[in-house]
């Protein structure tokens, strides 16, 4: 177990990993990584390693859950037993069940669910390694997987947290800041529509601090959004190259 650090922000105003308050962790994104899935994406954000896969639109199972005017969206957020310090039992925890719900509800506003009535789309998120902020990384990856699967969407959803470490409002909290910080505000956004699709908060913030945190998280979302677009472009490009060969 990591011990509680003395200070989350040093004298120079830098964080434990040397980042400035408004700096993201290193991010690596890949699209189209699971050959069996209809769409998939992989993200590394700091030490987070998250894989998202999409199956669908496909037949609803069990059948009686089918809806006449829209698709059914399902989501399963799941952590590998070895993804965290103490081995996690494979059975879904209450936390995983809640996160499955909020992740689904953060992606659903983007999807034209009425385009595919009587079908089902499954979003599967597997956290292979966790480092604080897995729900945001999951949303970012799952949105790309949905795009990769060709699910029609209003925008690509992107997520990032801001929060308070020590007395400072910081972006993209890592594990220690999540655990020992004052507050954590994960936000998911459809940048083109200026629409927040996920908002949670843990900790204590004044109204003004909350406003700053939300605004900082939105800035972070926009930066990651650019990387999402780039990842799609580079997959298309390589697919095109392969096609031309």
């Amino acid at each position: 177990m990591t011990d509680k650090p003395e200070k989350l922000i040093d004298k120079k105003g830098l964080r434990l990993d040397g980042r400035k308050p408004d700096e993201l962790r290193p991010i690596k994104i890949e699209v189209g990584v699971i050959s069996n899935a209809d769409g998939s994406a992989y993200i590394e954000q700091g030490k987070n390693k998250v894989l998202a896969g999409i199956y669908g639109p496909r037949e609803v199972h069990p059948k009686h859950l089918a809806l006449p005017d829209r698709m059914v969206l399902k989501c399963r957020y799941h952590m590998a037993p070895f993804s965290v310090q103490e081995r996690k039992s494979p059975a879904p925890s209450r936390r995983e069940i809640e996160l499955s719900k909020v992740i689904r509800e953060s992606l659903e506003p983007a999807i034209f669910v009425e385009y595919y009535p009587r079908t089902m789309v499954d979003i599967f998120v597997e956290v292979l390694q966790a480092d604080g902020g897995t729900r945001c990384a999951s949303i970012t990856a799952a949105a790309l997987a949905l795009a990769d699967a060709g699910i029609p969407m209003r925008d690509i959803v992107v997520a990032c947290a801001a929060g308070k470490a020590g007395d400072t409002i910081v972006l993209d909290l890592m594990d220690e800041e999540d655990k020992y910080g004052t507050a954590d505000v994960p936000v998911a956004l459809m940048p083109n529509l200026n629409a927040v699709t996920l908002l949670q908060m843990d900790g204590i913030l004044s109204y003004d601090e909350f406003e700053s945190a939300v605004n900082l998280a939105i800035e972070g979302c926009k930066k990651i959004y650019a990387m999402q677009k780039e990842a799609i472009r580079s997959k298309y490009a390589s697919a095109k190259e392969e096609g031309e060969e």
């Binding site: 809806l67 949670q200 909350f210």
Partner: protein, 263 residues
Amino acid sequence: MSAVITKVKQKEIAQLIEKGKRLDGRGLTDFREIKIEQGIIERAEGSARVRLGRTDVLVGTKIEFGEPFPDTPTEGVLTVTTELVPLASPVFEAGPPDENSIELARIVDRGIRESKAIDTEKLCIEPGKKVIVVFVDVYVLNHDGNLIDASALAAMGALLNTKVPNYEVEDGEVKTTSGHTQLPIRRNPVTVTFAKIGGKLIVDPWLEEEQVMDARLSIAIDDDGNICAIQKGGNGYFEPAMILEAAKIAKDKAKEIRKKLGW
């Protein structure tokens, strides 16, 4: 429910809200009448029943002695569960808790935990070995909308009248003795839930409003007016400005409720 009826109702409710009105006559930021009874289950260490209009939630607390979590060896343990028993609504089913039940429990838990409402350091008996465990069991008796705020209020109401039996430690085992002390409560957080319908925010949605809302936002406010927990729900979204507006209203409403209850 048929999707067509829902859309008709949604339009009707949204048109009213557009004019600042609601089906049950309330203003957009009005809560329904809040009734709270405390200490009604003698077998429980603490209890409270909250009625928010026809929504009816009973919370009982139980005290046990147990082990602390490894990462907080000097703190007592808080465990919140909710049961959406099928008695309370035709849409609730018996069985292990579903995602709605688990989300509700975790929102109630977060409001109490993040506001540091309970002085958990005082619940430590022997660091790393024995602490007091507080079970908060939320029992919904009738569901007529906004279970979050009713449950959060009933949970705090029950904690406020929870008695911790006196005890002594002998050979590493904790035994209760006669008498009791009050559970140490430091803060009284209040949660305020909004629904977004037709682009407008309303407070304390009742069942029909919940059925047609685009999205839901719950904000817990502590005694100093700080925000201590938030949860967005539902398949819609909020513009950033609307979130900030909700945070301001929540602060006012929480103060109002705290005053009304004498907390």
